[in-house]
Point group: C2
Chain length 211, copies 2
């Protein structure tokens, strides 16, 4: 899925549609304060359980932000990246099926589209259940994320769908319950966001079949 | 804790020490791609359980990024914020005790300091247990976050500590197990990040006393 080469950085263009940073000013208890932050889209994520095969359905993809996080923690400067030492596979994450809300349709419709586009399962919104809403970040961005749960079957699978749209390169992977539970065990070092860990543990606690 | 007034925005200064946005370029399967992202610090968060009173210890604070996320989802423009309709209390989050790694000391030492500075419990690192490492974000920032667990007692409490240092204004709150469990229930709309939800559910699954 990867075959990634020629990593380099440049300045952020002023008209970036994805990252819009600014400084937020306010007065708290009479004292002027500021906080630097950026606007990001609200989003959805979906825990998908294939009941035919009793497998959880996750997605894997190369994430530039994680690659950068890894090399910058080690003090590596752009322009001097040793790609043997830091292969792009280090930054392939495991995540819930997810997407940003960038169209004027309902949140659950966005979730339905992502299940189809990323994972290839075509299900109606009536089979998607809203679980919890929280803030996807609280430090530099504070968008809302809605977590959904959907059960799918092998019959819902569209052979030609999944893997993302446009330029996306997304691998769909399946985990059985025991393998998945281990990801939340003490000692895990996982290339996943906390929303993945919460969605997974929520499923294991509230929806996983008890054998 | 709040008394927040005079909210407004301005451009991000080029020398912001907190938000350093840039464009990341790479080639994947022969195709040139780019991704806009920003550098953030690695961080720690700590699930704290007061065993004397069987209470979880969380922190609450006003988060500019969440305030902005709420008003921008509604299309409110800076300069025309109706603070009666959008009181700052909307953006007071509930979180685990947490902090960024911005000093050359070990990750667990950072955790120890945050437990003292934010929550007022003075405990040695030997009583802090590392649980899981994950990526705090995967879209625009990919820093690592390490989740810890610590049990504290009323004897560990330093009356003069807690509430943050410097300009921080942090409220320490305590939840009993049943109240805390409800926060992870279906239907919750919570002003918390997913790391809070995961840490809480991890504790309830793996460490909470079974009556």
């Amino acid at each position: 899925m990867n075959n990634i080469t020629d990593i380099h950085y440049g300045p952020l263009p002023e008209d970036s549609p994805y990252v819009k940073p600014f400084r937020f000013h306010y007065t708290q208890n009479g004292k002027e304060k500021s906080w630097d932050l950026l606007k990001v889209h609200d989003s959805v994520s979906i825990v998908i359980f294939n009941v035919t095969r009793k497998k959880l359905v996750f997605v894997k993809q190369f994430r530039p932000a994680v690659y950068h996080g890894i090399i910058s923690s080690d003090g590596v400067q752009p322009g001097s990246i040793d790609m043997k030492k830091y292969p792009p596979e280090l930054a392939v994450t495991m995540e819930l099926c997810a997407g940003i809300i960038d169209k004027p349709i309902s949140t659950i419709e966005i979730a339905r589209e992502e299940v189809l586009e990323e994972c290839g399962y075509d299900i109606p919104v009536e089979r998607i259940e809203e679980i919890i809403r929280y803030r996807s970040g609280v430090g530099t961005s504070g968008a809302e994320q809605t977590l959904f749960y959907a059960e799918v079957t092998d019959e819902d699978k569209i052979a030609s769908a999944g893997g993302g749209v446009d330029d996306e390169i997304i691998d769909v992977v399946e985990y059985d319950l025991e393998e998945a539970r281990k990801l939340t065990d003490k000692g895990s070092v996982i290339s996943s966001p906390p929303s993945f860990l919460f969605g997974l543990l929520w499923f294991l606690t509230n929806r996983a079949p008890k054998n």
